[in-house]
């Protein structure tokens, strides 16, 4: 579309839009990498002793010794939050990877294997969109019996739809290309075509999809755990910290409720920003921001 160029983008003080978008990606990526490194380093370096009851004053507000304060058992909240974020990251990577794989397989199949498969996939997409994510996850957690398998399965199976639609649309555009028709004429199987010709072309789309999915996955894991369907109460997950902190906020211990959520928010925001900016660089037409 021929939108009139924004005059500000051509003034001398600002780099050209394309360059600016790339610079933004580098900035976002650095922030995210820094966050991730800090969380992992903290997870490895922070001493579990801080989690043992009675090792510190109980219910103390944030201070120099305990930057996020301590809970009613004297556990250091900062240590617990860092460990919780590390757990979120791990679950996030695993689940988003599975979900991306599901989108890729179903999206490519729908586009390559004819109308009937396409119909089945789009019915599946409608079905999965129709049950509220959280409720589908609760159902799955109920079936699997909670814990890590329930979280991973539930979240992976509720986040593949939009990416699958994008992949399907992309593949439909290239499936009529000459190199694919030639390959098909030579008697190559659909699997071969999908692997050798289609997958490399949709890989950038999958990568962006993965990064964009990541924040949703982390948020849903926290919500599921908070409701009592995710990690067990012994795990230092963010959702557990928040549900444990809830009963204490009326006695004024606000830090128990504020810091775990704030830390999660920052992590999610970092990844969401990165995903949007990568999309802007790879595909400037469909994004604006």
């Amino acid at each position: 579309m021929n939108a009139p160029p924004d005059p500000r983008l051509h003034s001398r003080s600002r780099p050209r839009p394309r360059l600016r978008a790339r610079r933004d990606v580098v900035v976002s990526l650095s922030v995210v990498v820094l966050l991730v490194v800090c969380v992992i380093a903290g997870h490895l370096l922070l001493d579990d002793a801080a989690l043992r009851p009675n090792s510190a004053p109980r219910s103390s507000p944030p201070g120099v010794e305990h930057p996020f304060g301590t809970d009613h058992l004297g556990q250091d909240l900062f240590t617990r939050v860092v460990k919780g974020l590390a757990l979120s990251l791990g679950i996030g990577v695993l689940t988003a990877a599975i979900s991306t794989a599901v989108s890729a397989v179903l999206g490519i199949c729908a586009a390559l294997l004819g109308r009937r498969v396409d119909g089945v996939v789009s019915w599946l997409i409608d079905l999965s969109i129709g049950i509220p994510h959280l409720i589908f996850m609760i159902l799955l957690a109920f079936t699997v019996g909670g814990g890590v398998p329930g979280i991973v399965l539930g979240i992976a199976l509720t986040h593949w739809m939009s990416l699958a639609l994008l992949v399907r649309a992309d593949v439909k555009q290239i499936r009529g290309a000459e190199f694919i028709l030639v390959s098909r004429g030579l008697g190559r199987s659909p699997l071969f075509i999908a692997r050798r010709h289609v997958l490399p072309l949709v890989l950038p789309q999958l990568l962006v999809g993965f990064v964009l999915m990541f924040p949703h996955v982390i948020l849903h894991e926290a919500a599921l755990t908070f409701l009592g369907f995710g990690f067990s109460p012994q795990t230092p997950a963010i959702g557990i910290l928040l549900s444990e902190g809830m009963p204490h906020i009326s006695s004024g211990m606000w830090w128990l409720a504020v810091f775990p959520g704030l830390a999660l928010l920052l992590l999610v925001l970092g990844f969401a920003r990165l995903g949007d900016r990568v999309r802007t660089v790879l595909d400037p037409a469909t994004s604006n921001g």
Partner: protein
């Protein structure tokens, strides 16, 4: 148009059957034994009574037979008996659906209107302060865990400022029938505020993008060249082109709205369908769980159906094709 509605209704029926099969299969394969969950810690029950319960609930038949029997009673309007509440599922859901509907209705309307206005304002002042504030707000809110926002509201408004009570739809210890409307409202504000604040982000971002496209179009450039003022441009071109996608989006938002209300209701112990769902799943109340899952799916499918119909009814290009 009627054909489109009919096709959509047919699809809705197949989807509902799909959901019921899926939910049934998932629940049947769970490690929780419904009979055990029903009797709970009651030790005075004999093996004979257990066997009779199993037979009565049809647990000794094949899964397909069980599904068909269950679906048959569903069609007759019998959702079974809640094991937690010892009452018909329909009654349990009916009492709570109203509370949830009020909560979601208010949040849906407020977030829709406010989000649309903010999105329009951002697009009209693109790159300036208003745009930055709206974008920043939407971005942050879409990265915020809904339940955490509820907790923060509790900390700020209930604990620090003392304006609102900490949870429940009415004061504790007062029979439900004696709760006044004002008290009810008092307990209603924070959950509604939480849901609205989260909902605004989605619609504001989309309206901002849509409106920006409209303002960058050739016909708006021409309108400007003709001397139309900004207000005229909005009235003549911007409003119609942006309000339909916003409405569609808001109807398609039903799924997230329902999920959000599960979280908000749990945080504020608001006795709606969402907090009951959590209770049912944690307490192994299979009939109630299945009932709420089906109702939520029906709710979301209806939203998507309305979105499609609104789209078709207002857009002549789609209307002609259908």
């Amino acid at each position: 148009m009627p054909r489109l509605v009919l096709l959509r209704l047919l699809r809705l029926a197949t989807l509902l059957i799909g959901v019921s099969v899926l939910a049934f299969v998932l629940v049947r394969n769970s490690p929780i034994d419904p009979v055990q969950a029903y009797i709970g810690a009651d030790v005075n029950i004999t093996d004979e009574q257990l066997a009779r319960l199993r037979e009565q609930w049809g647990l000794d038949r094949s899964p397909v037979e069980q599904y068909l029997a269950w679906a048959g009673t569903l069609v007759q309007g019998d959702f079974g008996t809640s094991t937690l509440y010892k009452a018909p599922v329909l009654d349990v859901m009916g009492a709570r659906f109203g509370a949830s509907l009020a909560l979601m209705g208010v949040a849906w309307t407020m977030s829709g209107v406010l989000g649309y206005l903010l999105g329009v304002a951002a697009a009209m002042h693109r790159g300036r302060l208003a745009d930055r504030v709206v974008s920043w707000y939407s971005y942050t809110l879409s990265a915020t865990p809904t339940f955490w926002l509820g907790i923060v509201f509790l900390v700020v408004f209930s604990v620090w400022l003392g304006w609102f009570p900490v949870g429940l739809a009415g004061p504790q210890g007062v029979p439900a029938t004696d709760v006044t409307f004002a008290q009810r409202l008092h307990h209603f504000v924070l959950p509604a505020l939480t849901l609205s604040a989260v909902g605004v982000a989605n619609i504001a971002m989309h309206t901002r993008e849509k409106m920006t496209d409209v303002l960058n179009s050739d016909y708006v450039a021409f309108a400007r060249a003709r001397g139309e003022t900004t207000a005229q441009i909005f009235r003549n071109h911007g409003f119609r082109n942006s309000v339909v996608p916003a409405t569609t989006l808001q109807f398609a938002y039903f799924a997230e709205l329902f999920g959000g209300s599960v979280l908000a209701e749990t945080v504020f112990s608001y006795p709606g369908l969402g907090s009951t769902l959590t209770e049912a799943a944690l307490g192994g109340d299979v009939p109630l769980l299945l009932g709420i899952v089906l109702v939520s799916a029906l709710f979301v499918f209806t939203g998507n159906l309305i979105a499609d119909v609104v789209n078709a009814a207002t857009d002549p290009r789609i209307r002609r094709r259908a």
